[in-house]
């Protein structure tokens, strides 16, 4: 009886641990396409307030998540983020430098990045913070852009292809 109780206790503990891990590490893998109807009005269309890619391809492993972002007639941006939150270099189009980091926080993926490029107004620095969350086959990204002391946040919804 005691052995049975111990075995049941161990099984329950292991089950609870794996359930907690599954909740802590949601899997964002897949190809995601922007759903304009479900996204903020200022996140889509001809003149978005914050740039959101029209499609995102995500591959996730236990240690990292790779993200390829593409938009119509725009150069793609890709990155392989370490899920331990360490800083990585983002593969950005020529003329743009970007670094970023990602971490899982309470079932959400938080990606922060810092982009810089030159312009006729001098060197420009933009900071982005993205909070990713999953709901079935829908990926929601809440993105904040901070630049020159001004911040704004928009939300985009992606459908799994």
């Amino acid at each position: 009886m005691t052995r049975l109780t111990i075995a049941l206790g161990v099984a329950l503990a292991l089950g609870a641990q794996s359930a907690a891990l599954a909740q802590a590490r949601p899997d964002f893998s897949g190809t995601w396409r922007l759903n304009q109807a479900k996204s903020s009005r200022s996140a889509v269309g001809n003149t978005p307030d914050i740039p959101f890619p029209s499609q995102i391809e995500v591959k996730q492993s236990a240690t990292d998540v790779s993200v390829l972002s593409t938009s119509v007639r725009q150069q793609p941006i890709s990155a392989v983020y370490k899920l331990d939150g360490s800083k990585v270099t983002v593969q950005a189009p020529e003329g743009i430098s970007e670094t970023g980091e990602a971490r899982v926080d309470g079932g959400k993926l938080v990606v922060t990045s810092r982009r810089s490029f030159s312009s006729p107004a001098g060197d420009i620095v933009v900071e982005f913070k993205e909070i990713w969350s999953l709901d079935g086959n829908a990926l929601t990204i809440e993105k904040t852009r901070t630049q020159s002391g001004e911040s704004s946040t928009q939300k985009a919804v992606y459908d799994k292809v």
């Binding site: 304009q36 009005r41 200022s42 889509v44 269309g45 001809n46 003149t47 978005p48 307030d49 914050i50 740039p51 938009s71 119509v72 007639r73 725009q74 150069q75 941006i77 950005a92 189009p93 743009i96 982009r115 490029f117 312009s119 006729p120 107004a121 001098g122 420009i124 933009v126 852009r145 630049q147 020159s148 001004e150 704004s152």
Partner: protein, 129 residues
Amino acid sequence: MRGILAFATISLGLLLATASLQAHHSFSATYDGNKPITLRGTIVKMGWQNPHAHLYVDVKNADGKVVTWEVESAGPTTLMKQGLRKEDFVGAEVVIKGFLAKDGTPTVNASTFTLVESKKEFVNDEKTP
């Protein structure tokens, strides 16, 4: 004579249609969606032409040099519906949020611009992808 007149009319129509199409270009063809930019400056001139109103804004760089930027916005009708009046403009200080032109010139497509004194914000409300 009628034939020449008809030919001239059709040619003129095609010419105007082409010019209108060129003016009403898509965002992605001209602007870099990966290069968001925020500018603060003084409006020195306003162009009220369709399909896009254009602001010309003097912006001081970090080194003190003033550069005049061309800022493409929504059409005049859209801006006037949002409460903009011609007298609001020249000499006003403005904050522009938009995207840099792909060709590297001081040209920007404004998502929004805000008149600093009145805090009135105007949105480029043309949502055709």
